[in-house]
């Protein structure tokens, strides 16, 4: 006959302890994942079919030595100038492209001594075995940035959006198929205007 007024109240004082326990468990067993990076495609491991001759003026050589210094077109260069130099080379449009067409969207200097057409221009990256990975990534990043800068410019002119945003939308699994189908030809057109021709030679052995 002690209590009458309904069920006794449950003591919730230990609820915080239980929640803390769970919290600490999740803090310990999980990580915040870094899930972004530079996407690259490796060349297939097969011998080249025929010797493709590329004119010297269509190749932009970037060398990184073991002291992480940059040699661009046989001149020493700081990393901060690399992006502008690459853009200048790719956007030159001094001659005619693969099918003999002129580059009518290039805004470069049209120097006959530099690249003929964006679809002929090749960037060649050579690194040493002792180059630091962080330097390599920084160089890769700048070269990708040069391509993205030009692609963004053309996407802005043709479609009024950035190329990088279009690409991110296209790769996003949440984007609906209809939107993807619409984006695909646009992305392909821009990629055709400035194809990413980034060749990596095997590193020099010292």
């Amino acid at each position: 006959m002690a209590r009458r007024g309904g069920a006794p109240e449950v003591n919730a004082g230990s609820m915080a302890d239980i929640a803390f326990l769970l919290l600490i468990f999740f803090l310990v067993t999980t990580t915040i994942e870094t899930d972004a990076g530079l996407d690259r495609k490796l060349p297939p491991d097969e011998p080249p079919k025929d010797n493709v001759v590329i004119k010297q003026k269509n190749i932009f050589t970037v060398e990184v030595n073991k002291d992480n210094q940059l040699l661009v077109e046989n001149e020493l260069m700081e990393l901060k100038d690399l992006r502008a130099a690459a853009v200048k080379f790719l956007d030159n449009g001094g001659g005619t492209g693969e099918k003999g067409e002129k580059c009518d969207y290039c805004k470069g200097a049209r120097d006959p001594e530099s690249s003929d057409h964006p679809n002929k221009a090749v960037i060649s990256l050579v690194n040493d075995r002792l180059t630091k990975y962080s330097t390599y990534i920084a160089v890769q990043n700048e070269l990708v940035a040069a391509y993205n800068e030009l692609r963004n410019r053309e996407a802005e002119r043709l479609y009024g959006t950035d190329f990088t945003t279009m690409e991110a939308d296209f790769n996003d699994p949440k984007t609906s198929d209809a939107v993807k189908d619409e984006l695909k030809p646009k992305i392909e057109r821009i990629q055709e205007m400035y194809p990413q021709k980034l060749s990596e030679a095997e590193p020099k052995k010292n």
Partner: protein, 161 residues
Amino acid sequence: MSKFNKKKSGDLPAISTASLPDIVFMLLFFFMTVTVMKDSSLMVQNELPYADQIQKLDKKDRVIYIYAGKPSERYQSTYGTSAKIQLNDKFADVSDVANYILAERAKKREELQNVLTTALKVDEETNMGLVSDIKQELRKVNALKINYTTKKGDAFRNMQK
């Protein structure tokens, strides 16, 4: 008189802790949603370099991870300080990479086997020689789509160290 005395007795009123569980649960749900379960414990130092032209990695079931870097401090006495490759939970040799990729690829569903990406999580102090060796191995087994996993940040920060 006693009325006034009572007011003076200097005990602070107890702070109500009734909302404490709510706060902790909020934190708990935050961590449950933004983090993922660890699937392999890192045995190498893994300080990733910075880059800003990054693309998001594909869904997790389409990615094969390769870690590389110096062994972490507690393994340095056994494995030395030169950079090593970690596959799943073990240190491995360059020659093991190809077999690892083939084994991982065979584990995935058939429709995913052609769209796999290999994520290279390489410590920023590593020399390119090791990374090139890994890339050669990947070319041999035709795992051509790779992703250099990086932290988001200005690439020039890589050069300052």
